[in-house]
């Protein structure tokens, strides 16, 4: 700690050292003319209010009800979602991987925290933390047990380590008992974790 900080230790404010350092950095970037604070506010507001798992849920629900869209989605995720327009904007290199009765998919980034932000929003803390990043590629069934999820013992489990600028979204299996449901109703069943591969969609009638 610098002498400067030490000198001021006696007049503790409510702010932590980290908060003070972050504020100082923003002050410097603003004073130097690099950033406009209102633009930072707008970024934060977008991640807090506009971008979240509801984006991915709409895509999944559409794939469950529209076989042509599902086919296009699995062939080229970015392109297929681009045609929807109203659902969400998405960058290049989104790969959608389908869960089947034979295979369960799970996504991780062992090296940092790569995650399909545009589909799911910012990743939860556990996705970015050491327990998940270390174990997902070696003991995925153990990780799933931490989520109270278990798979049939002979089901293939495929873990996608996001080591480049490709991003992966899991297309979970449509829950039974949803015949005739609308896209909007189905989207309500799609959880964030079901699109990462650490959970399943909700089942009809279960509490949300």
């Amino acid at each position: 700690m610098s002498e400067h900080h030490h000198d001021h230790d006696h007049d503790h404010s409510e702010l932590s050292e980290t908060e003070l350092r972050v504020r100082a950095l923003e002050t410097i970037l603003t004073e130097k003319g690099y950033v406009e604070p209102a633009a930072l506010d707008a970024i934060i507001q977008a991640y807090e209010t506009k971008i979240g798992p509801h984006n991915g849920a709409r895509v999944v629900a559409k794939a469950w009800t529209d076989p042509a869209f599902k086919k296009a989605l699995l062939e080229d995720g970015s392109k297929a979602i681009g045609t929807l327009g109203h659902v969400s904007r998405v960058g290049d290199h989104l790969v959608v991987v389908e869960n089947t009765p034979e295979r369960h998919n799970m996504v991780v980034c062992t090296l940092c925290s790569c995650y399909p932000w545009e589909m799911l929003g910012l990743p939860p803390v556990w996705y970015k933390a050491a327990p998940y990043r270390s174990r997902a590629v070696k003991d995925p069934r153990g990780v799933l047990a931490d989520f109270d999820v278990s798979l049939p013992k002979d089901m293939e489990i495929r873990v996608w380590d996001s080591t480049a600028e490709t991003r992966f979204l899991v297309l979970p299996m449509r829950p039974a008992g949803t015949e005739g449901w609308s896209e909007e109703q189905l989207a309500e069943l799609v959880t964030r974790d079901s699109m990462i591969g650490t959970g399943f969609p909700r089942t009809p009638g279960a509490p949300s």
Binding site: K32, V35, A42, G52, C112, A129, V137, R158
Partner: protein, 219 residues
């Protein structure tokens, strides 16, 4: 670099603890850090690979004991100092003491926000034909660069199969060091769990990475 960030296959970190109804940010400063990183990157102060490399070079004991956005903050501050966008004196003072350096894409203001809500493009024209085809057996090279790489340790030396070809992309190993984009073919390569983790490994497990062509040899 063989850093502590390269976590695949490490033991001892314990259970995955998911928080119910987790907020987008736990504290306000986290949101400011995220926004500053996004803004300064979009303004052209650094590329995404360089920002990852700076987080990887945080000392291991600090990396492991810092929260996610604390690591982002530490990486950002150090990177901006080393790239000449601010000085240690300014950081200590908490104020600018000299005019800013010119940013490649100019000041990040409100008009810039929309464009960063969609990810950047990393595909590039191919400088040469792809060396590998779908279905080819390839061995991840046993390389240990002290600089940035996206080839995780747990696959090095192991044989896998090319499953997808994503086209040519910016090569992080050179881009991170500001040595140019040097586009390379990018493949999804899938490994058998037992090839990676031995006889005790889960027999139903397959793990894939996305591997740039220079990471691979024919097998």
């Amino acid at each position: 670099m063989n850093g502590v960030h390269d976590m695949g296959g490490m033991d001892g970190f314990g259970k995955v603890e998911a928080e119910i109804n987790e907020p987008v940010f736990h504290e306000e400063w986290e949101s400011r850090v995220l926004a500053m990183v996004r803004a300064m990157g979009a303004a052209g102060a650094f590329n995404i690979d360089t920002s990852r490399f700076y987080r990887e070079t945080i000392p291991p004991h600090v990396y492991l004991s810092s929260s996610y956005y604390k690591k982002w903050f530490l990486g950002l501050e150090e990177m901006l100092i080393e790239k000449g966008y601010l000085t240690r004196e300014e950081v200590a003072a908490g104020h600018a003491m000299q005019p800013g350096k010119t940013l490649k894409h100019g000041k990040f203001d409100l008009t810039q926000v929309e464009r960063i809500m969609v990810r950047g493009k990393f595909a590039r024209p191919a400088p040469a034909p792809a060396k590998f085809n779908i279905g080819d057996r390839v061995r991840a090279k046993n390389i240990h660069p002290a600089t940035h790489t996206r080839l995780p340790r747990y696959v090095r030396g192991h044989v896998g199969v090319v499953e997808l070809n994503h086209g040519c992309h910016v090569f992080p190993d050179t881009a991170a060091m500001e040595h140019g984009e040097h586009p390379q073919w990018l493949y999804t390569v899938v490994f058998e769990g037992r090839d990676l983790w031995g006889e005790d490994g889960d027999p139903t497990l397959k793990v894939s990475i996305d591997a740039f062509e220079p990471y691979l040899d024919p097998a």
